[in-house]
């Protein structure tokens, strides 16, 4: 029984650890989104750099959505408007 519970504890710990990894990744992506928002609004930067920042900003939100950290409704309207509709494959 002790051995069984040992493994159960490992599973419990793994699930906690997995949860932590996701939170850490989510936090990092949110930081990157914020930094890119700053780049996008920085009028001292060349337009090309701000455009790249916008792409990265949108990408960050897509990653958060992709990792199920947010619902679609939480993605800013402007980002959703820039997402091109899927055309589908052959």
């Amino acid at each position: 029984m002790t051995r069984f519970m040992s493994v159960v504890l490992v599973v419990f710990s793994l699930s906690l650890g997995g949860c932590c990894s996701c939170r850490e990744a989510e936090s990092a992506v949110r930081d990157v989104i914020a930094a890119n928002e700053g780049h996008m609004n920085d009028e001292k930067l060349p337009a090309e750099a701000r455009s790249i920042a916008e792409v990265n900003y949108d990408f960050g939100w897509k990653i958060l959505y992709g990792m199920a950290a947010i619902k679609e409704s939480e993605i800013p309207e402007a980002v959703r408007a820039r997402i091109k509709p899927q055309t589908g494959g052959e």
């Binding site: 069984f4 419990f12 793994l14 699930s15 850490e24 990744a25």
Partner: protein, 166 residues
């Protein structure tokens, strides 16, 4: 089952009190303070309750039993929990701080500060993965302690649970 879970969480709190004085946890605790610790415990409680519900009727007893083992101070378990606790306090103790940092990055930071933040975010993900690898090593130690025979006995019972939890 609710009583069992409450009791188990009390035990968990006791176990983490011990962790505050050891290794990585102590370092994090010194940096983040008592408030972060309480926040981490709240999150653990939510997490444990959610998983107990998934496990059904036996969930409370499961948490209770595992925490008794944890409290028993088996070294691989402590090592494992120590890493996770440090990681949790780092994450859940910092919501307000993180929000303030992001507001600063989006509205006030200069170009260099924003670039540094992007690099730091990447580094954080890298170091999390390194910690995860250390955690897996610790789990390996637990499996060694269990032995092949014990592992075979529990594998059939535990594998379905793994898919539910992870």
């Amino acid at each position: 089952m609710a009583d069992l879970l409450d009791k188990a969480l009390e035990e968990l709190e006791g176990a983490f009190e011990k962790l505050k004085t050891s290794g990585t946890s102590r370092k994090v605790f010194e940096e983040k303070g008592e408030e972060s610790f309480d926040k981490a415990l709240e999150e653990i409680e939510k997490f444990a309750k959610a998983n107990s519900a998934r496990l059904g009727e036996g969930g409370g007893a499961f948490v209770d039993e595992t925490l008794i083992l944890l409290k028993g101070g088996k070294s691989p378990f402590l090592k494992l929990t120590n890493l996770e606790f440090a990681s949790m306090v780092n994450l859940w103790g910092n919501d307000k701080e993180a929000e303030a940092r992001r507001n600063f990055l989006a509205r006030e930071a200069d170009f260099e500060e924003r670039q540094a933040a992007i690099r730091a975010a990447g580094d954080a993900v890298y170091h999390t993965q390194k910690a995860r690898e250390a955690q897996l090593d610790a789990i390996g130690e637990v499996f060694k302690a269990i032995g092949k025979k014990g592992l075979k006995l529990v594998a059939a019972a535990v594998l379905p649970m793994v898919s539910g939890l992870l």
